[in-house]
């Protein structure tokens, strides 16, 4: 079973450390997505797994066997390159069959596999064409076909959809996901697009500066980001992160006098950050964050309100064409469970007992 295990994987290029000792387990049959900003080491990780690059230290195991020192062809995997890497002088059929010919697979077997791959990907009518006579999406499909005729159970993809337009990308996302399930492959897929990662993955590996920031299922990554970075990388728009200050009744957003979001923790009360998703914020009649709407960003199904809260930007995503006008003041509210707290120093999540912004007992009992 092609389970992939990375053990302290490190890659340095002279002074720069592209990968700083990564430990990762990708389960058999999983669709794992390596996600992260540009330069975080996603491609490096993928190339090390493929054997196209050599690790400075650390081990790679595929299917229980240590493959760290094996050449790429002996690792039992296939790969789809970002630029597809199709051979421009060969026809689609020859491109797909290149590897099988190299491996001296018998002709009858080759024909059967070609037919199957062409069938799965709808390439039947294009087999005689040269890559330059194909559209981007078709080239992408040829690259996929070349990866699946190998019938290896582990497939690597490096940003395969980045050259396609939005509509085709959505289509191909679905197709790739479907293909992976149908052929029961283990997939390691690189992207810097968090929406793509959330929609496709069983397991999202969020990377930053050559380290793994969080390794979790998409829902968990979205709902329980382990760090401020994870919170700010995932979601459209990403989570609001606001610095906190102590007030007599508890922690409030710096520069405001309320609402209180958490009880002041004993000991380290300095440098905390609160996170709240834009879609968790609702314009309510009752008490909440008192904000001024500074801008509106209409997106069709919903509208992003750009608000000002004590000098900080706060984004709220509300359904439909929002009623709020620019410059208007309103109260945004959310549940206590929508609040996440992070240490400003290292970005780690901090467990605090949150207070519901709409339900402020101390205020009700006291000042008002």
């Amino acid at each position: 079973m092609p389970e992939v295990v990375l053990d302290g994987l490190t890659r340095r290029f002279g002074e720069t450390t592209a990968l700083a000792g990564i430990d990762l387990v990708i389960l058999d049959g999983a669709f794992a997505v390596l996600l992260g900003p540009s330069g975080c080491g996603k491609s490096t990780t993928l190339r090390l797994i493929a054997g196209l690059d050599t690790a400075t230290s650390g081990r790679i195991r595929i299917d229980g066997t240590d493959v760290t020192d094996r050449p790429p062809a002996k690792r039992g995997l296939s790969m789809v390159f970002q630029n597809y890497a199709l051979f421009p002088h060969l026809s689609v059929a020859e491109n797909i069959l290149f590897g099988l010919k190299v491996r001296r697979v018998p002709a009858a077997d080759r024909r059967r596999r070609l037919e199957r791959a062409a069938d799965i990907l709808g390439l039947g009518a294009l087999l005689g064409r040269k890559p330059s006579q194909l559209s981007g999406g078709q080239q992408q499909r040829v690259a996929l076909a070349r990866a699946i005729v190998a019938e290896s159970r582990l497939c690597l993809m490096d940003e395969p959809l980045s050259n396609l337009d939005a509509k085709l990308r959505a289509e191909m996302r679905h197709e790739i996901r479907d293909l992976q399930r149908r052929l029961d492959m283990t997939m390691i897929y690189v992207t810097h697009d968090q929406a793509e990662a959330l929609s496709m993955a069983d397991q999202v590996v969020l990377m930053r500066d050559g380290r793994i920031e969080q390794d979790a299922a998409p829902a968990e990554l979205y709902e329980r980001p382990a760090t401020a970075f994870a919170a700010s990388f995932v979601g459209t728009p990403p989570m609001n992160l606001l610095p906190l200050d102590a007030s007599p009744h508890g922690l409030v957003v710096a520069g405001t006098s309320g609402p209180v979001l958490a009880e002041t923790p004993g000991g380290h009360l300095s440098d905390l950050v609160v996170g709240v998703r834009p879609e968790a914020l609702l314009p309510g009649a009752g008490p909440g964050f008192p904000v001024t709407v500074t801008d509106l960003d209409y997106q069709g199904a919903d509208t992003v309100l750009v608000c000002d809260l004590g000098g900080h930007n706060l984004l709220a995503r509300v359904p439909g064409h929002a009623a709020a006008a620019q410059g208007s003041e309103l109260q945004l509210t959310c549940a206590a469970t929508d609040l996440a707290f992070f240490s400003a120093a290292d970005g780690r999540r901090v467990a605090l007992s949150a207070v519901d912004p709409a339900n402020q007992p101390h205020i009700l009992g006291g000042v008002v």
């Binding site: 890497a85 051979f87 190998a150």
Partner: protein, 302 residues
């Protein structure tokens, strides 16, 4: 007398046409004066005898061409020499260029130095290169003879004996051309995305298989270009013949263009030289047309 009122649209088109011709004029003048007119004049002159003293040129028809085939052993030898020269130097220099390019395209220590070293002969003027090789070939104390002597071999007069003269000249030409062609191959190699090699490697292809099945086909357009240049070059060389052997001994190393030069400017038989030039032109045109029509179709995959 009313002037007919011109259609403004027509006027404009006329003006555009005049502009176009004016813009083409400088290049046209140069081409006509130095390429087209001489070509036609040469062709025309080849049907006449050379005017000498009081005797004016007289029309001879195809006599010059008949003379080449039936009555000019030197011409036949020179054509054979040139044919041999092309047949040996072209594949050899292209082959060496390709191997050198593949070699210096690899990531290896000192590859910048290697590239420069291979390219140096190209930068030298042919006459300078010829002089360097003149020293290598010198009987007695030349570099090659010193090496041969080291192994106890006999002294060889490379440029002075009919058996070795042409081969020695060929060696210089290969040495000089290979570096030049290498640059074209190198440029083409660098335009092949590295991911093709990685894809081939992933599929289990060996380096040899990759070069044979992927690199060589992708280099074909470059090869065609280099080939056209090499063929034209092989029929156009005189510099090192002049500098090294003067076509000798007894025409053993003479080539077509050198023979034309001798006929025209040493023996002053200019109209026979014109006929020889027409033959040279015919060869070059045939070769280029063949290469561009027949080979091109089988090479361009885009």
């Amino acid at each position: 007398m009313a002037r007919p009122v011109g259609d403004p649209c027509m006027d404009r088109r006329l003006l555009t046409t005049i502009y176009a011709w004016l813009l083409l004029l400088p290049a046209m003048v140069l081409l006509v004066a130095f390429t087209h007119y001489p070509t036609v004049a040469t062709f025309w002159a080849s049907f006449f005898s050379t005017a000498r003293g009081r005797r004016p040129a007289s029309f001879l028809g195809l006599d010059h061409y008949r003379r080449m085939i039936t009555d000019d052993p030197v011409f036949l030898q020179v054509v054979w020499n040139n044919f041999l020269y092309a047949l040996v130097t072209i594949p050899l220099s292209i082959g060496i260029a390709l191997v050198m390019a593949l070699w210096v395209n690899e990531r290896l220590a000192g590859r910048g130095f290697l590239r420069m070293a291979y390219f140096t002969p190209t930068v030298l003027p042919m006459v300078a290169a010829a002089n360097i090789w003149l020293f290598f070939y010198t009987p007695g104390f030349g570099l090659l003879n010193q090496i041969i002597a080291l192994f106890g071999g006999p002294d060889v007069n490379f440029l002075g004996s009919p058996e070795t003269a042409l081969w020695s000249v060929m060696a210089v030409s290969v040495w000089k051309e290979a570096g030049f062609f290498m640059i074209f191959y190198l440029a083409a190699l660098q335009s092949i995305p590295p991911s093709l090699k990685e894809a081939a490697k992933l599929e289990g292809a060996s380096d040899f298989h990759y070069v044979r099945r992927i690199v060589l086909p992708l280099l074909m357009p470059t090869t065609l270009f280099v080939l056209v240049n090499a063929v034209i070059g092989a029929f156009r060389v005189v510099d090192h013949i002049v500098a090294m052997t003067g076509g000798g001994p007894s025409n053993a190393s003479s080539l077509l263009l050198f023979y034309i030069y001798e006929t025209g400017f040493k023996f002053w038989d200019t109209s026979y030289a014109a006929a020889l030039t027409v033959v040279l032109l015919a060869v070059l045109i045939t070769v280029s047309v063949l290469q561009v029509t027949v080979l091109d179709k089988r090479i361009h995959y885009r």
